[in-house]
Symmetry: C2
Subunit: 328 residues, 2 copies
């Protein structure tokens, strides 16, 4: 029937999603339902010129492939590290992770090259949009996403919309401070939850313990050339290493107290933990909330994201949401 035909055509609507991270540059064709049809990965070049060139090249390749894959690309969504002005499609300044990435207009060159509309937002905000459209944030009007990866990022959804803030630095949740002194943070301040609980911070502590010969315990075997990571710290603690346990307890407490601060500020319905350390932190954060939040905020649920590719899905959702708003 015609109605089935239209349904079928609508189902082929897709987005081109770009994820600009500290290590990799990724492009994906993403379908209406959040299905990743095809994905392209390259190391993220170190200079602006090489990076822009590679972005345009990977997008052109994906556009070419999209035809034979029967995907109609409606637009391009970009997730990037750094502070972003989404109205202009410009990266204002970047984290230390991505070099030569300040005052970069992403919209104009991509749009000129592909003749498609382009949306840009930062990775924390994209992760929140992904949860809103495809994850635990579906039909939730007010929630917060906290991403514990190499660093700590986040996004706040209030009344179904992202909170960007007056200078586009809302939801810089990694730099919530839970100590007047506390460990030095990459931002120049001290006591930020990123300096306690990020993958970077845990790795630093793991290395320190390893250097002092305090990391390895019975049942654990670290090879000589093996890079020491947060995962070693977690394994060691599980195998009864008290030093590792102390470090992780402090990290969990810091993260939990930081999240309580968010609850006492915007009081969302739900907290979604995302990133590699999310499942590790879920239970301790929920416990810290029950210990340190006001009674009226103690029942706020903490869940772990189930999305495989939050940055790509969030980038795609900016395109797909806009398209569906116009079409249905």
């Amino acid at each position: 029937s015609i109605s089935q035909d239209i349904d079928h055509i609508l189902e082929t609507q897709s987005a081109l999603a770009i994820d600009l991270g500290g290590t990799n540059l990724r492009v994906a064709i993403v379908g209406m339902r959040g299905n990743i049809v095809k994905k392209y990965t390259q190391p993220n070049p170190k200079t602006y010129e090489a990076r822009m060139q590679l972005i345009l090249k990977m997008c052109a390749d994906a556009m070419h492939d999209s035809v034979s894959l029967n995907c109609r690309i409606l637009g391009v969504g970009v997730s990037t590290g750094g502070r972003v002005n989404p109205q202009e499609g410009v990266v204002l300044d970047s984290t230390n992770l991505i070099q030569e990435w300040s005052s970069v207009d992403l919209r104009t060159p991509i749009s000129d090259s592909l003749h498609l509309p382009v949306w840009v937002d930062n990775d924390g905000n994209c992760a929140s949009l992904a949860e809103k459209k495809f994850g635990h944030g579906k039909r939730v009007e007010n929630f917060v996403t906290v991403i514990t990866g190499t660093g700590i990022g986040g996004g706040i959804i209030h009344n179904n919309e992202l909170v960007h803030g007056s200078t586009f630095c809302a939801a810089e949740l990694g730099h919530i401070m839970v100590s007047l002194e506390g460990p030095e943070c990459s931002c120049g301040s001290r006591g930020c939850i990123e300096a306690y609980a990020s993958g970077m911070a845990l790795q630093k502590e793991a290395k320190r313990l390893h250097d002092e010969d305090l990391l390895e315990v019975e049942g654990m075997n670290i090879k000589l050339a093996e890079p020491i990571t947060a995962a070693h710290l977690i394994s060691a603690a599980r195998l009864g290493n008290n030093n590792a346990d102390t470090v992780l307890n402090k990290a969990s407490t810091a993260l939990g107290v930081g999240i309580v601060n968010i609850l006492h500020t915007v009081n969302p319905t739900l907290v979604i933990l995302s990133g590699v350390l999310a499942s590790y932190y879920q239970a301790p954060v929920q416990r810290i909330i029950s210990e340190r939040a006001l009674p009226s905020a103690q029942n706020i649920k903490v869940v772990t994201s189930e999305l495989e590719e939050p940055a790509l899905l969030g980038a795609a959702s900016m395109v797909l949401d806009y398209a569906t708003r116009r079409l249905y």
Copy 2:
């Protein structure tokens, strides 16, 4: 002319404002421009029954006076300590400051008695509404009010609206924690900015110094029966008392770091400090922001409220805003 007559009639529109604080119960007739036409003050009774009776009595008196004062009362606005459901007009639970003040329906009895619509919100939120209508928050879409009085409260205006939160405990800014350990707070947690920087916290430190004979300095003369307050601490510090200075520095740092946490969460355009300690804290908080906020949040301005009666004006503004929305 008729147009002048109508202007004159519109100008006589007023609100009845009620402020329920820890010490006093106050009622005021407030005009369109935030002018307090008449004010009534009584000690706030200790029991629910006596309090409700007194509220209704004071309102009836004010309604009576309003006729001869040529004020047309359009409705009643209530500012109260505690957590409030403004949709229902109910105090959900109260701070320790007001006894027998949980699950209290304020709207029904006041509305039944006066035959007027009734709005209720908490004192921090009312202070923010007052700034929005009559103070530094005029024409500012996104700002935060932090009230440093006996305790610390606050309110957040986002896109011209108050943020109430999923359980009506948004903007519980006094319980933002800036220390994993830190001083005990009345809420049961530790390290809250209220436990460092509120009038109560400073008074406690002032008393401690006084008991240890460390408060008085040259040029300062504390009488025997004189109650020791935060004001003594500030005077002593200004006269060169290092102990007092250390306490106040810590308090300012804690408050400043707490406010930076708010900036990194909702990133407002403006921070308004309100309450008795506001003018004292303004400069140090601005300095802490420049030292510890992300560069993109460092230029956010901190100002001191110029409103004499934020709670009453905010309570009135709920009435006047609703009325003007309907009439113009």
